[in-house]
Symmetry: C2
Subunit: 277 residues, 2 copies
């Protein structure tokens, strides 16, 4: 199947929803709202929303059922990029060819824009129906964004010793910093689409494997030169690429009993892990 | 009634719950978890948890019904203090007689500890039951923490022109920066205790007035010298104190039909607005 065409049909719905939940840049405080939008539009690959919507279809619902999860995860991702770019963290001046938020709006507004995007993520998910599913997805998203996942992974990434070749620790950083949010995209999208607990857990495990493999591929494409915490640096390019393929296979095996409705989800996983840029 | 004695009986439950939801300082990443705890223990007045638990009793439920709201709001409050203290914001080295989080743990960890505390707040509230109420309180807490309330208030406070004497704008900053979280303490506590929509809205309005009056009293006690955005600076100490009393009266009038179970809530409001330190 042509996953690019599949996504091109569904992406506009996500863009409209992101635009609808974000306050207008003209609404005061204008500098804050402009800063919040600066990182969200134009977006990157929108990989997390795509996973959420593909998961809804994989469990037999229309993609739009996953919209609150798709938008919530993307907003958490956006906030984390703003904070990661800060001078006290990675100190990046540019992202996607544009000035980072702290360069364009100042450091205080960048911290606060990230803070407000995180709150908005939970507000968006909490408005989903039924409320039972909304509360479950808020809980899962908060866990994925918290000290035991996203934030803890960033702390360990910042403190990573480049001489460390402990592949389990490297994969643990990837699982927390990248895997957890992709996992909750998939399981949260499925949850809002009505999937039961067992299926949500299975899809969560799928997303976690794909997320780690995605991050390994990131390192493979960078040839591991930029990041200290990189499987390429630890075991070489070939070994890292093989490990990513292994994780992809394990992930896909978890979807074996799902029918053709899961094909976009499978194709997205293949794209995420095998992409060339 | 003796509200101090009332609170002394209930406070340990809040302390235990905060301790239970926060990862141990010994859990890796230890620096992150120690930093998260640094601001939470020892706490300040725990005014927001007290309001949440008093609201539960005001609507006829045991105080413990409000625990997830009490803890969730306190964690948002804690995260906001860590970020407000950062060098790029208020640049404070000390809080409550101890080094601020960025002084003790570094700036990156301070940003991340705040981020993780915000996520933990929503995770805690999302675990409340019934799920319908949990989702409503997550939504209200996220709105109170977002760009239209807490974060927007902080942006306007940082940008406040000390020559500005616009009392409506000053009160709008107070309402967003202080009032919104106190309002959601009260309405969220009542919501988890089973109060209906109309009563929750009324209690929210009560909390908003009390929160603004609390912040005005803060300025009165500081004699308005520290903060640019201060009603004392705009209209003088006497006028500001009178305005705080006016807001307190308006707030208390909203509770007139509630019985003696609302007495702790009334007394907390009087304490918050009339305290001498």
């Amino acid at each position: 199947m042509d996953v690019q065409a599949w996504w091109a049909e569904r992406l506009p719905r996500v863009e409209r929803e992101l635009d609808a939940v974000l306050p207008a840049a003209a609404e005061p405080p204008q500098t804050l709202h402009a800063a919040m939008r600066h990182l969200v539009f134009p977006g990157g690959k929108r990989l997390r929303p795509a996973f959420a919507m593909a998961a809804a279809e994989a469990v037999g619902a229309p993609a739009r059922a996953a919209l609150p999860a798709a938008v919530g995860v993307e907003l958490v991702h956006a906030y984390s990029l703003i904070h990661d770019d800060l001078p006290c963290m990675d100190d990046d001046d540019e992202r996607r060819g544009r000035p980072t938020v702290h360069v364009a709006f100042g450091e205080a507004v960048a911290v606060l824009a990230g803070d407000a995007l995180q709150a908005l993520a939970f507000q968006t998910v909490a408005a989903a129906r039924p409320a039972e599913s909304a509360a479950r997805v808020v809980h899962a998203l908060a866990a994925a964004a918290g000290s035991r996942a996203l934030v803890g992974g960033q702390v360990d990434d910042l403190a990573f010793d480049p001489e460390n070749r402990d592949t389990a620790h490297i994969e643990s950083v990837h699982a927390r910093k990248s895997g957890a949010l992709i996992a909750v995209s998939v399981s949260g999208g499925a949850r809002l689409a009505g999937a039961d607990d067992a299926l949500c857990e299975r899809l969560h495990a799928f997303g976690l494997d794909v997320g780690v493999a995605f991050q390994i591929q990131d390192d493979v494409l960078d040839e591991g030169e930029d990041d200290a915490c990189s499987l390429v640096r630890a075991i070489g390019r070939e070994g890292a690429a093989a490990r990513a393929e292994e994780l992809l296979s394990r992930a896909l095996a978890r979807l074996e009993d799902l029918g053709s409705g899961a094909e976009p989800l499978r194709e997205l996983a293949r794209y995420a892990v095998r992409r060339e840029k």
